[in-house]
Symmetry: C2
Subunit: 365 residues, 2 copies
Amino acid sequence: MEVLKTSQISEAFPMNGGDGRYSYANNSIFQRSGIESSKAIIEEAIVEKLDIEKLPNTNPFKIVDLGCSVGPNTFIAVQSIIKAVDLKFKSQAISVPEFHVFFNDHKTNDFNTLFGSFPAERRRYFAAGVPGSFYTRLFPLASLHFVHSSTALHWLSKVPIEVVDIHSPAWNKGRIHYTNAPIEVKEAYSAQFVKDMETFLRARAQEIVCGGLMVILVLGVPNGTRPTQSIPCLLQDLLGSCLMDMAKMGIIDEAKVDEFNSPMYFMSPQEVEALVERNRCFSIERVEVMRHPDCDAQLLSNTIRAVMEPGIRKHFGSEIIDELFDRYTNKLVDSPSILKSGTNTSLFFLLKRNGMHQSLSVTDH
Amino acid sequence: MEVLKTSQISEAFPMNGGDGRYSYANNSIFQRSGIESSKAIIEEAIVEKLDIEKLPNTNPFKIVDLGCSVGPNTFIAVQSIIKAVDLKFKSQAISVPEFHVFFNDHKTNDFNTLFGSFPAERRRYFAAGVPGSFYTRLFPLASLHFVHSSTALHWLSKVPIEVVDIHSPAWNKGRIHYTNAPIEVKEAYSAQFVKDMETFLRARAQEIVCGGLMVILVLGVPNGTRPTQSIPCLLQDLLGSCLMDMAKMGIIDEAKVDEFNSPMYFMSPQEVEALVERNRCFSIERVEVMRHPDCDAQLLSNTIRAVMEPGIRKHFGSEIIDELFDRYTNKLVDSPSILKSGTNTSLFFLLKRNGMHQSLSVTDH
């Protein structure tokens, strides 16, 4: 079997744990809106694309949520998948299987909070937590029927090394992201994305049974969008400008800002389509560009804080966090044009595992 | 499928989490000695009793450690099982499967520490954490090949209600355990043990494939041992006497001591044999009474603290803990006769799942 390499993967960016004021659990409404919008599409996908008669070993029916963080969104997503699969079995008069659900995230994720917040209602499934990067193999060969990943795959496995290399043309001085950066920076991020997505698809191709489905919901951009037209990109850029303001005022060291980069890449449908095609184990059954509703500055600031605080704290220390995000909220309030001028979109992909697993032993191990 | 009832089960007694001075992770050498002694027997069991050609769906080969706590003992046990199974496959010239290992404990267990302490060496298995009481169903039907549980099954699912009922003849006034208590107290504990063990065996009978093995290593007593002859019992009794000393001095409320009971039952081989026979889904392949080496007062005190502190803290508050365990250590030092006069034993059981799973749908669902 393939040797696991979890320890080699950067795990610097867990979400804020616990259930406090700035926790991810209490600041993930933005992410929830994506899950709610995709619910209907997932139900349709299961009705139209999941051929339960041809799927192997469907009892138990195995589902994983990759990058689950600490709920409640992960439970909402899983419940809606189970409900739709259950209906599908019933509609074909096949006896409904047991469900085994795996909740995956980095080993630094707050699994204690996740496990403590399992819905109080009687659960219809057996649950397990799987610690580790989804850029490695996490499951045995051909063992999953339905893979779900929401607002997770825009996280790269690591910051591309070139952007923190002072001798590289991609050195990203004075910024924390490729938005508004020289083309070399964008290319370094893009190359890291390609490498990560290839690894991701290769691992999932081994884990998903033939005929199994994978839903990927991710912050991304429509084809042909420039970073400066995309709200997720602009939000990163604005956070970088707050850090630079603080550096200029001597509150933090400017060199520390140069060393810090956000490991997020906002992909386009075309980029994903090309990588899926190259991988050859999946067909793309559906792609949607989903527009997020407007949301106010404070909510956005809290959302970004919940997902980025641990990484920022680790690099800059705890003492700057409150001031940084106060500044950030203020800048957001003062920049309504940023929030209106661009696109604030998620991408939805439905992939189906095709072909045979045997061939993998030659080409993909 | 059977509805899960985790929320109804008492989860009052996790081990001490983290990796601090009194953590379970740093105070489980006593438990380790049991695992080390059973290693050779487990290897023999796998050589002699695991018929891999008849086992269904062995790829992946699925292992669970029930009541795993936070390591490192759980990793040691799992590694030795995998090593033996691997050898078995190789010795029969069958290609070695992938391994999927599940680490189970109460949802209040410190899974974050467990996941953070996975061995740094490249792991040979896919891992998952399973939160929930092993007195409920935790896994899909017929999905496990090897079940391991070490120093866990002497924990009852809850304190028997009669012993805290002031109107019951089993009211356990002035003690925290059945050692040195009236017969009614022992009977209440014993009845709770029978109920729990029946539930445990029923759940595992559904989860383990036919031909699958279950190893249970547990603090227990040889047949015919009185509680006052057993070190685990005497250790509970001595802790109760420290609490009563503190109550008499007005440091804690005596009524609080009356309300507190340790949910531990130290079973005998005969009791287990009778319950396995009644369950009818397992054969007992091996029983061993394993004598622990002597260990000193401080080590024993720390061991008991690591496993009992969370429950005691929850009931009495944090402020008494240090004094309580100082007193406890002193009493242990002053009572060498206690440490020498009795039996300090673990029991080892090897069970094999027999029969067919179909029949369960009539009798056990």
